[in-house]
């Protein structure tokens, strides 16, 4: 076993950290208030190649391994978790279906565009199908040359800016085996991009609803054969969860950063509060939990990079990292006292941002379901 990062990983992480601090940090409060990413920042992110991180070089991407990609997401989330999820959704669930299951023609047509910064989104969730993703009711009816898709999707991250929508829709009534996957372009007739959700946090990232009314999608834009859409969605989420785990690690690290810094600065009872055991205990628990969760995420990423099964470990990593990050945000805010409740301090935003990590790409309850199924399978049940 080897617990060190490679030199190129260290360098990459540092480059991203510097970019995030220099270019993103000054905009965080504004983006949080306005509920949208800054336009110029989005252009810079595209130019820097963040939308091509996980794409192979021959499609014009950076070709990062999962672990290094995770570190990038962590460093972004350490500054702005909304920007981090925008990039993570594009590089994982938004593009993975085409990369892993798409025809060669589909890959050649779309992956270079995505790697170049045309943004991808992932549309599974519906008003009546959240944790029960297989309960989705959007339909794709076969017509001449393709399909007509009808239905409603919600909580589509990146949808406000997206050029491409990977949509799961029913081609038959055969439960989860009746679901197929399609790639729809933004200017498809019958596609209505709804308003952005007004969210508690993660406000630099957008989530929209999408109405599809007889939206035509050509046959060649079906991803893989009919009936494997649910499998595609679930395997995309296995990878996506590693990204969310690293996003939560970035938030937790940010909380530890500001918590420790504030504790050293703030004096009460004639000394920095960092000298009080109650505050030290908070910091010690944050640091320990962070390190444990980080190792779980690193292992999940390593398994994926080794080409080994990683679904269970991805679920464990997401569960551990997001629950841990929630506790870290709570402790960091607590260390700040009344100031932590004010929008003058970053920790107030971290507290709101972190909450959704326990919900999206599978709630904590769904992760437990995945883990339990794996454990029971190992015991033959």
């Amino acid at each position: 076993m080897d617990f060190e990062l490679r030199e190129d990983q260290e360098l990459f992480a540092k480059g991203v950290r510097d970019f995030a601090r220099g270019e993103i940090q000054p905009l965080c409060a504004k983006m949080d208030r306005e509920g949208i990413i800054d336009g110029e920042l989005l252009e810079k992110i595209k130019q820097q190649g963040f939308f091509g991180l996980s794409f192979p070089e021959h499609y014009g991407g950076v070709g990062l391994d999962t672990h290094t990609y995770g570190l990038v997401v962590r460093e972004l989330a350490r500054v702005d978790a909304g920007v981090a999820i925008m990039i993570a959704v594009h590089n994982s669930v938004g593009s993975y279906p085409v990369m892993q299951y798409g025809s060669d023609a589909l890959k050649e047509k779309y992956l270079p565009k995505m790697a170049d910064g045309q943004i991808a989104s992932f549309c599974v969730t519906e008003p009546g199908a959240g944790s029960d993703a297989a309960g989705l009711t959007s339909r794709a009816e076969r017509v001449d040359g393709g399909y007509r898709v009808t239905g409603e999707k919600i909580w589509v991250t990146n949808g406000h800016h997206a050029d491409f929508f990977v949509v799961m829709a029913r081609t038959s009534d055969d439960g989860h085996k009746g679901i197929s996957s399609f790639l729809l372009e933004r200017d498809t007739e019958g596609l209505q991009i709804g308003a952005k959700e007004d969210k508690m946090g993660l406000r630099s990232s957008d989530a929209i609803s999408l109405v599809m009314a007889d939206a035509f999608v050509p046959e060649e834009n079906r991803i893989g054969p009919e009936g494997i859409g649910f499998k595609i969605a679930m395997s995309a989420l296995d990878g996506g969860r590693i990204g969310v785990a690293y996003q939560a690690l970035g938030l937790a690290q940010a909380c530890l950063d500001v918590g420790a810094r504030y504790a050293l600065e703030r004096e009460q009872f004639g000394k920095p509060i960092a000298r009080l055991q109650a505050v030290q205990w908070h910091l010690a628990e944050m640091a320990t939990e962070l390190e444990m969760a980080h190792l779980l995420a690193d292992k999940a990423a390593w398994l994926k990079d080794q080409g080994k099964p990683y679904g269970k470990q991805a679920a464990m990593a997401k569960l551990a990292c997001t629950e841990m990050a929630g506790r870290c945000a709570d402790k960091a805010l607590q260390i700040h006292g009344g100031f932590g409740y004010s929008k003058d301090y970053d920790v107030e935003r971290y507290y709101r941002d972190v909450r959704v990590t326990r919900i999206y790409e599978g709630t904590s309850e769904i992760q437990k379901l995945v883990i339990a199924r794996n454990v029971l399978d190992e015991f033959g049940g």
């Binding site: 959240g130 029960d132 006292g337 909450r355 959704v356």
Partner: protein, 379 residues
């Protein structure tokens, strides 16, 4: 021991619940969004007698007991935590020290308008450098003829920008530490009193939180509250009562979290059945109910001990710690039960979560409550 409420207590709870449903629930989301202080509603609370519930009728109050007051705050906070804290601060932190330490003349001049809801009160203890370490006061009160001159800055003052009357703590002897603090009652509209700014907060956004500057504020001699240098004792005893109010506010948020969770879990179907039929959700509801019910008993006990005229620092600290923790826990679980919808401002639970967190902080952080509880236990 008995655990039932008197008919008077049942009545105030019912009155508060009906008022909250009619006058608060329909507006709470808008007040939150716009950081709007609900001035009209506060006026109506005054007319109901809710701004001085445990103050004797002789001094403009409703003349009821502390448990009645707690029940009212709990019900009001179930609809909106901001309104709960506005009420709690006026009752516990402004009326009570006047009632307990004021002369009859002071009660007539200052308490009656506050208890009857004609005026609004605030409590000015915290300073930028004196939070948990409340004794580290830098505000000074210097003798000036028969009166005093106040100078200093007070921080995180609930009701600060809307209040008419302040209870202000200041050093009358800088060499004596917490034994050099005195308490004063101050007209918020007097020359030299100013609102430096109001805070933009995560939650309880309908409640205003202001920084107040005191610049050569002249006071008459009879604006000293209690004995000179008794200020720290007055401040701490006042907070002993205030913490029961905050515990009640937290209980209201915890109960609202449970109420919304149950309604949603019964209505929301996944995997072909209401999610209320899944153990994962059932056990969350059970845990939320347990923590809230336990905290409620501690809170009612603290109020009952206060009603008996006994010292209740420890009971209050236990109540506030348990209730605040329960409210944060329950509101987080409510968001989780709602899933993605819980994270959206279209549903009420994300506000509950934002409103709950401050309960862990104000009127003594959880850590301060633990200091009180452990000091009592170790004594």
């Amino acid at each position: 021991m008995k655990f039932d409420l008197s008919s008077e207590q049942e009545l105030i709870r019912k009155t508060a619940r009906e008022f909250a449903e009619k006058e608060i629930t329909p507006h709470a989301a808008r007040w939150d969004q716009n950081e709007e202080f609900p001035a009209e509603t506060v006026k109506k609370l005054g007319e109901l007698g809710f701004m001085g519930i445990a103050v004797p009728e002789q001094w403009g109050g409703a003349g009821m007991d502390n448990l009645s007051y707690i029940l009212a705050v709990e019900e009001i906070s179930r609809a909106c935590g901001s309104v709960g804290v506005i009420m709690s601060v006026n009752n516990s932190l402004a009326c009570w020290p006047l009632q307990a330490f004021g002369t009859d003349a002071q009660k007539e001049e200052w308490l009656e308008p506050l208890a009857s809801g004609q005026k609004l009160g605030a409590y000015c203890l915290s300073e930028p450098q004196a939070g948990t370490d409340a004794a580290a006061q830098k505000t000074t009160a210097n003798p000036d003829g028969d009166g005093w001159v106040l100078n200093g800055t007070k921080n995180f003052i609930t009701n600060g920008a809307h209040a008419d009357t302040f209870i202000v703590f200041a050093m009358t002897d800088l060499t004596k530490g917490h034994k050099g603090i005195s308490a004063f009652v101050v007209d918020a509209h007097a020359p030299g009193v100013a609102v430096a700014h109001t805070e933009h907060k995560m939650g309880i956004r309908a409640s205003d939180t202001a920084q107040i500057t005191l610049d050569d504020v002249k006071l008459r001699g009879d604006q000293l509250l209690g004995e000179i240098k008794d200020g720290f004792k007055i401040a701490m005893q006042t907070l002993d009562g205030g913490r029961i109010g905050i515990a009640a506010k937290a209980l209201g948020i915890a109960q609202a979290s449970i109420d919304h969770s149950i309604a949603y879990a019964k209505e929301r179907s996944q995997f072909g059945r209401p999610i209320a039929q899944f153990q994962a959700i059932q056990f969350k509801i059970a845990e939320m109910t347990l923590r809230t019910e336990a905290a409620r008993l501690l809170t009612y006990r603290a109020a009952a001990v206060k009603d008996q005229g006994r010292r209740h620092s420890n009971e209050s600290a236990l109540a506030k710690l348990a209730a605040s923790t329960a409210s944060v826990y329950c509101s987080e679980e409510a968001v989780q039960i709602f899933g993605g919808n819980g994270y959206s401002k279209e549903y009420p639970v994300e506000k509950l979560m934002r409103d709950a967190k401050i309960c862990d902080i104000y009127e003594g952080t959880n850590e301060v409550q633990k200091m009180v509880i452990s000091a009592t236990a170790l004594a």
